[in-house]
C-alpha cells in the first residue's frame, strides 16, 4: 500500500524537476509516519544482524533494511559512496569476472545535463539508483532517482542554490555524492545546505544551512550516515575557512555536534579520553599554540574527503585538509590539527586520537584521502588497522585503535621528504625542497595534488590487495607570477606541474600492505582521477581523463575490457544487481575536477599555471576530451561469447603500460 501510493507520487512528479524545497506540514506528517514504520521494522529485525569478520564479508545475508551497516552487506546494492563503512569499495558480485568482462556492453545511459566534473558515486538502494550532478547547468546539484535496472526516471529533485557559490568554490564545482539511510537521501549542496529527501517520492524533508558561500565556505564531499547522524565536512581552506566535521540528526537536520580541526581543545572536541600515540601530540590546546596568535581562526583543515566507521570500536575516521590561508613562513609551528587523521567517538565526536601527517605543511598536501579499515595479519598478529594512501606519497598502515603508525612506505616517487620517522610519526624533511621566497625550488615530488588526491582506492579481501588510482606528478615552485584578486595585485608562487620520472602522469596499481610492495602497475598518460571498484569476480574498474573506462584483472593488471565514452572520467565506479538478475557497473562520465577543469571550463591551456598549477600537467587534455555529464551503466551482453576481447598485452591503443614488480615504488 505504501509503495503503491508513492509510485503514484513518483509518476506525477516525473516531469517536474523543480519539485525541490517542498516542505511544511505534508512533508512533516509524511516524515513522522515514515519514521514510525521504520522503528517497527527495526525492532523486529535487529536480531538478524550477524557479526562477521570486519570488512571481509561478501555473502549477502538478509539484511535489516533499517540498519545501514547491515544493508551495506547486501552485495546486490551500493548504499553508501564508499560501499561500506570500512571504505573497501569491494563488491561480492562475480557475474562479471575475468572470463567474461570482455562482453560488457552499455545497458542504458542517462544525462545529468550539467557538464562539469562528475565525481559523484551513484547509490543503489532497493533497485533505485540515486545520482547527483555538479553545481552547474540549469539545475545545480540536481538529484535523480532512476530504476536501476531499466533506467526509468522515477523523480528528480532540484535545489534552488545560490549561484554565488560558483564564484567562490575552489577548483571545480564538484560533488562526490549522496548518502542514504532510513528511506531518506541526503544531499550536500555546494552552497552549504544539507538536504534530506524522501527516497521514494523525491520530496524534501528538511534542510539545514551549515555555512555561507559568501565567506568562502562550500561543501563538496559525500556525507556519511552513522547511527542516525549525517556526517558532513566543509571545503574552502584557501579562502580562510576554518575546517570542521558536523553531525546532523538525520530526522530533524539539527546539529548534534561539530568538531573543528583547529583551535582550543573544546572546539576540536579533545577531552580527557583523547590519547594520541605520539608524545608531541600531548598537551593542552595544541590547536591554538601550534599557530601564531589567532592563526587557527582562519587555519583551514577543512574536510572534503572520506569518513569511515568501525562499529566495533564505535569510532569514525577522517583526515583534515591543509593549513591556510597563510604562507608557510607566516605560520611557524605544527599548525595542528590540519593534515591530521582523526579517530572520533561516533556518538559524540570526541577525539580519541589524532595523527598529523604533514605538520607545518609546505606543499598543500591535504590529507582528506580515505582511510580503509582492515584487519590484517602483520608479523603474525591480527591487527585492526587503517590504510591511508596519503597525499604526501606514503602508504600509511596505522593501528586504528591507538593511532600508531605500523608502516609508511613510498608508493610513488618522493623528493619532498626523506621518509617517515616511525618514532615520532613525522615526515623527515628535505630542506632543499622547502619553498622559500625568491628561490626556485625544482623537482618537488609529489606535486601539490599529492601522489593521490581524493580519488578513493578499493580493497579486495580475496587478493589482499589495495587498488590505487593516483597521479604521478612533480612540480617546480618559483615566485614570479602576477596574480590579481579583488583589485589587489601580488606576486604568487608559480606552481608548474609535470609528469614524474618515466614520463607518465597517472598510475593504477595494486599494493600489498602486508608485504609493503607494489605488485603491479598500469601507467596512464593522464592522472587517474577516478575512484575504483574491485569485485569478487577479480575485476577492478577505473577510468581515465582521456575517456577510457577500463576493467582489469585484479590479480595481475591485465586489461580485460575498455569503453571509450563521450567525456573523460573523474567519477566513482559502482556495481549492483538489477531485478533482472544481471550485474551492472555504473559510472558518471564528465571530465572536470582539479586536473580536468582545463578541459571542462576552458581555462587557457597555454597558461601552464592555471587552475593552481594543474593546467601545466594536463594542458593537452582538451585534445582528448571536452565536458560531459553522462551516466553510463554496463552489463554483460546476453549469452554471447566475446569476440572483441582486447589483446593480451594491455598497453595498446591508449598509451597505458603495465609493469609488474616492486621497483616502481622506490
Amino acid at each position: 500500500m505504501y509503495r503503491l501510493a508513492n509510485a503514484r507520487t513518483a509518476l506525477s512528479q516525473r516531469n517536474k524537476p523543480g519539485a525541490g524545497l517542498i516542505r511544511g506540514a505534508i512533508a512533516a506528517a509524511f516524515l513522522r509516519n515514515h519514521i514510525r514504520r521504520r522503528i517497527l521494522l527495526l525492532s523486529g529485525a535487529i536480531a538478524l544482524i550477524a557479526t562477521s569478520a570486519f570488512a571481509q564479508t561478501h555473502a549477502a545475508p538478509a539484511a535489516d533494511p533499517a540498519d545501514l551497516d547491515a544493508l551495506s552487506r547486501d552485495q546486490n546494492q551500493w548504499v553508501m559512496a564508499p560501499r561500506d563503512y570500512a571504505n573497501t569499495r569491494f563488491s561480492g558480485l562475480d557475474q562479471i569476472n575475468t572470463r567474461d568482462a570482455a562482453q560488457l556492453r552499455v545497458g542504458w545511459t542517462f544525462s545529468l545535463g550539467a557538464d562539469r566534473g562528475q565525481e559523484a558515486a551513484p547509490l543503489i538502494v532497493n533497485n533505485t539508483m540515486y545520482v547527483v550532478g555538479p553545481y552547474a547547468g540549469p539545475h545545480p546539484n540536481q538529484v535523480f532517482a532512476l530504476d536501476a535496472t531499466t533506467g526509468d526516471l522515477k523523480w528528480s529533485y532540484a535545489p534552488k542554490p545560490d549561484t554565488a557559490a560558483q564564484g567562490v568554490a575552489c577548483c571545480d564545482v564538484v560533488t562526490r555524492g549522496l548518502a542514504y539511510d532510513q528511506g531518506k537521501v541526503f544531499l550536500n549542496t555546494l552552497d552549504n545546505y544539507s538536504v534530506a529527501i524522501d527516497a521514494d517520492s523525491g520530496r524534501e524533508l528538511w534542510h539545514t544551512k551549515l555555512g555561507d558561500v559568501n565567506e568562502g565556505q562550500t561543501i563538496t564531499m559525500a556525507p556519511l550516515v552513522v547511527k542516525g547522524k549525517v556526517l558532513i565536512g566543509n571545503s574552502g581552506g584557501e579562502l580562510g575557512v576554518r575546517g570542521w566535521v558536523t553531525a546532523l540528526d538525520e530526522n530533524t537536520g539539527q546539529i548534534v555536534w561539530r568538531a573543528y580541526s583547529t583551535g582550543p581543545d573544546s572546539d576540536v572536541l579533545i577531552g580527557s579520553d583523547f590519547k594520541p600515540f605520539y608524545n608531541w601530540l600531548k598537551g593542552k590546546d595544541l590547536g591554538v599554540t601550534s599557530w601564531p596568535p589567532d592563526g587557527w581562526k582562519t587555519g583551514g583543515g577543512t574536510m572534503w574527503g572520506w569518513i569511515s566507521y568501525d562499529p566495533a570500536l564505535n569510532l569514525i575516521y577522517y583526515g583534515s585538509a591543509n593549513p591556510g590561508p597563510w604562507n608557510s613562513n607566516q605560520r611557524p609551528g605544527d599548525n595542528l590539527w590540519t593534515t591530521t587523521v582523526f579517530a572520533r567517538d561516533a556518538d559524540t565526536g570526541a577525539a580519541r586520537w589524532a595523527l598529523p601527517l604533514n605538520p607545518h605543511d609546505l606543499f598543500d598536501h591535504d590529507e582528506i584521502n580515505e582511510n580503509v579499515l582492515l584487519d590484517l595479519e602483520i608479523n603474525g598478529q591480527l591487527r585492526k588497522v587503517l590504510i591511508h594512501p596519503a597525499r604526501n606519497g606514503y602508504m600509511y598502515v596505522v593501528d586504528r585503535a591507538t593511532g600508531e603508525i605500523l608502516s609508511a612506505d613510498a608508493y610513488d616517487h618522493i623528493t619532498a621528504t626523506k621518509g617517515i620517522d616511525l618514532k615520532t610519526g613525522r615526515p623527515i624533511s628535505n630542506g632543499e625542497k622547502a619553498p622559500a621566497l625568491g628561490k626556485t625550488v625544482e623537482d618537488v615530488c609529489p606535486a601539490a595534488p599529492g601522489a593521490k588526491d581524493w580519488q578513493p582506492t578499493a580493497w579486495s579481501p580475496r587478493n589482499k590487495l589495495l587498488y590505487v588510482p593516483h597521479q604521478h606528478l612533480c612540480m617546480n615552485l618559483k615566485a614570479s607570477d602576477v596574480g590579481y584578486i579583488a583589485g589587489t595585485p601580488f606576486v604568487g608562487a608559480a606552481v608548474d606541474m609535470y609528469s614524474g620520472p618515466g614520463g607518465y602522469r597517472g598510475e593504477f596499481m595494486a599494493w600489498d600492505p602486508v608485504k609493503r610492495t607494489k605488485l603491479w602497475a598500469i601507467h596512464e598518460n593522464f592522472p587517474v582521477w577516478t575512484g575504483t571498484l574491485v569485485t569478487a569476480g577479480d575485476v577492478a574498474f577505473y577510468g581515465t581523463l582521456d575517456r577510457w573506462f577500463k576493467a582489469v584483472d585484479a590479480r595481475n593488471g591485465t586489461l580485460l575490457w575498455q569503453f571509450r565514452a563521450g567525456s573523460g572520467f573523474v567519477g566513482q565506479p559502482v556495481t549492483y544487481k538489477g531485478t533482472d538478475g544481471a550485474q551492472y557497473v555504473a559510472i558518471l562520465s564528465g571530465v572536470g575536477g582539479w586536473p580536468g577543469v582545463v578541459a571542462a571550463a576552458k581555462i587557457d591551456p597555454r597558461v601552464r599555471n592555471g587552475a593552481l598549477g594543474f593546467v601545466g600537467a594536463t594542458q593537452d587534455l582538451p585534445a582528448y576530451s571536452s565536458g560531459g555529464s553522462e551516466l553510463l551503466v554496463f552489463k554483460l551482453a546476453g549469452g554471447q561469447s566475446g569476440s572483441d576481447a582486447p589483446q593480451p598485452n594491455p598497453s595498446h591503443a591508449n598509451g597505458a603500460q603495465l609493469e609488474a614488480g616492486n621497483a616502481l615504488a622506490r
Binding site: 613562513n329 621566497l437 615566485a479 607570477d481 602576477v482
Partner: protein, 293 residues
C-alpha cells in the same frame, strides 16, 4: 550606463547565474566576435559588483567611471556582466565571452592581454594620522611591535607582498590577517582592513594603494598613507604594479583602440584616479610622488 545585471544588492547573488545564462544564449545566437558586439554600440565590461573603490553595481567606482569614459570615446554605452573578481573571474567572464574588457589588471597577468598601463600604484602603510606613525620602510624595527594588519590571498606562496615580507623577517606574532575575499555579503569586502585601522583594532595596515588611498579620502578618522619603501631585499616580491585594462588574448583590434585612448586621455584618467585618492607612482622611481594626508 545601462546595466543588464540585477543591480539590487540583495538580488545580486541570486541572479548572476541567470544573467550569465542569458548572455551565453545571446552569444550562441549571434556570432561571438567582439567586432559584432562593437557594431551593436555596446562596450561589454566584466566587473565586480561589490568592490569599491574599483567598481560596484551602482557604478560608483573609478573603474566604472573609466568604463564610461572609454565607452563615450568609442561611441558606445557600457553593458556590465557582474562577477566577483576572484579566482575564476577571467575564466568565467572575459574568456567565457560574457564581455570584451575588464577595466583593471596588473601588467604581467597572463590570463588576459593587457593594454598599455594607465596607472602605476604601490603598496602603502596606512595608519591613523593622530598616532603619528611615519613608518615607510618594510624593515622599520617598529614593525616588530605594532599590531599590523595585512590582506591574505590564500594558498601557499600566494599572499600579498607585505605579508610575505613580514613573514620573511619573522614578524608574525603581531600580524593580523584579513581575507581579501572577506564576507561577500558585506559591502566592499577588502575594505575591512582599512576599517580596522579607523576603529583602532590594529595600529597600522599594509594594503594596496588604491584601497588605502580611497579609505583615507572617505574616512571619518584622518589617516596617513605612506608608500612602502626598502623593498629591494624581498625580490622577486614587488610592491609596485602597473595596471592596465585587459582584453581577451588575441583581441588585438580592441587592444589597439584602448591603447590609443589611454594615451590620448591620460590627463582625464589621472584626474579621475586622483579624485579617488589612488597613490600614483612613476614607473622609473621607487618612491611615490605623493603621500596623501
Amino acid at each position: 550606463m545601462r546595466s543588464r545585471g540585477n543591480s539590487g544588492k540583495g538580488g545580486r547573488s541570486c541572479c548572476l547565474g541567470l544573467v550569465a545564462i542569458a548572455l551565453v544564449i545571446n552569444a550562441a545566437l549571434s556570432p561571438p566576435s567582439p567586432l559584432v558586439a562593437a557594431e551593436k554600440d555596446e562596450l561589454k565590461v566584466c566587473a565586480d559588483p561589490n568592490n569599491l573603490p574599483f567598481s560596484n553595481a551602482d557604478g560608483a567606482g573609478f573603474e566604472n567611471k573609466l568604463a564610461e569614459l572609454v565607452a563615450a570615446e568609442l561611441g558606445k554605452h557600457v553593458i556590465y556582466s557582474w562577477w566577483a573578481q576572484r579566482r575564476g573571474f577571467v575564466r568565467s567572464t572575459l574568456n567565457a565571452e560574457l564581455c570584451d574588457v575588464v577595466m583593471g589588471v596588473p601588467v604581467g597577468y597572463e590570463l588576459v592581454e593587457p593594454t598599455r598601463p594607465y596607472y602605476r600604484s604601490t603598496y602603502v602603510f596606512v595608519s591613523q594620522a593622530g598616532r603619528n606613525f611615519d613608518v615607510t620602510s618594510i624593515k622599520d624595527p617598529r614593525l616588530n611591535d605594532l599590531k599590523i594588519g595585512v590582506h591574505l590571498i590564500g594558498s601557499n606562496g600566494m599572499n600579498t607582498p607585505p605579508s610575505l615580507a613580514l613573514g620573511q623577517q619573522n614578524i608574525v606574532q603581531n600580524v593580523v590577517g584579513y581575507m581579501i575575499y572577506g564576507d561577500y555579503r558585506e559591502p566592499d569586502p577588502p575594505a575591512r582592513l582599512m576599517e580596522a585601522v579607523e576603529k583602532g583594532d590594529i595600529d597600522i595596515a599594509a594594503a594596496w594603494g588604491p584601497l588605502a588611498g580611497y579609505a583615507a579620502k572617505i574616512s571619518a578618522v584622518p589617516l596617513t598613507v605612506f608608500p612602502i619603501t626598502e623593498t629591494e631585499d624581498f625580490a622577486p616580491l614587488r610592491f609596485q604594479f602597473d595596471i592596465a585594462m585587459g582584453v581577451r588574448k588575441g583581441d588585438h583590434a580592441l587592444k589597439a583602440r584602448l591603447d590609443d585612448l589611454i594615451a590620448r586621455k591620460q590627463p582625464e584618467i589621472r584626474a579621475l584616479l586622483e579624485s579617488y585618492g589612488v597613490p600614483l607612482v612613476q614607473a622609473s622611481s621607487r618612491a611615490a610622488e605623493t603621500g596623501i594626508r
